[in-house]
Amino acid sequence: DAGVTQSPTHLIKTRGQQVTLRCSPKSGHDTVSWYQQALGQGPQFIFQYYEEEERQRGNFPDRFSGHQFPNYSSELNVNALLLGDSALYLCASSLARGVVQYFGPGTRLTVT
């Protein structure tokens, strides 16, 4: 049973550029949540997708956007990258009516 997968593993971008991160949920899961984890901090909720729509959003600017596809996979897009966007981006999947979220290995984004 494949768990949550994310790509790429690492990414280096320059300030002002745009980036797209990808996530495939655990088999059978239909809800995807994205988190940003800065060094030494706990994960911070960015947004959650269910049925291809953004269901909830945390305190992140509009530069952060996402998408969910019919097969439940998801993308996180970040525009106009800032140095402060450097972090580990975690994707978690769950069932719509479930509670426990299962996390992927994350994408380490470095903005220079």
């Binding site: 988190y35 706990g42 979220q101 996390f103």
Partner: protein, 114 residues
Amino acid sequence: EDKVVQSPLSLVVHEGDTVTLNCSYEVTNFRSLLWYKQEKKAPTFLFMLTSSGIEKKSGRLSSILDKKELSSILNITATQTGDSAIYLCAVEITSGGSNYKLTFGKGTLLTVNP
């Protein structure tokens, strides 16, 4: 503003010691509290607690929720070097219906020395 606070932020123990990690929260619309272990990247699920006073146990790990005190503890007995990790506490907050999100604490970095 919803807040989850973990203590201590870091802890160094010797193999065989017992440790207690703390998590307190101030949130609206609490639904459950979860503990995760993060070794390198992906946090892995340990426990979910919804009812006060009921201990969840898995091997050497156990956890309990105190809704009156708005807190939870995670106990690890007979620690091993493989227990070295960041332990994250997360509170599930619901905004109605099936809408929910996790708010995490900063984590406790546990180092177990041989």
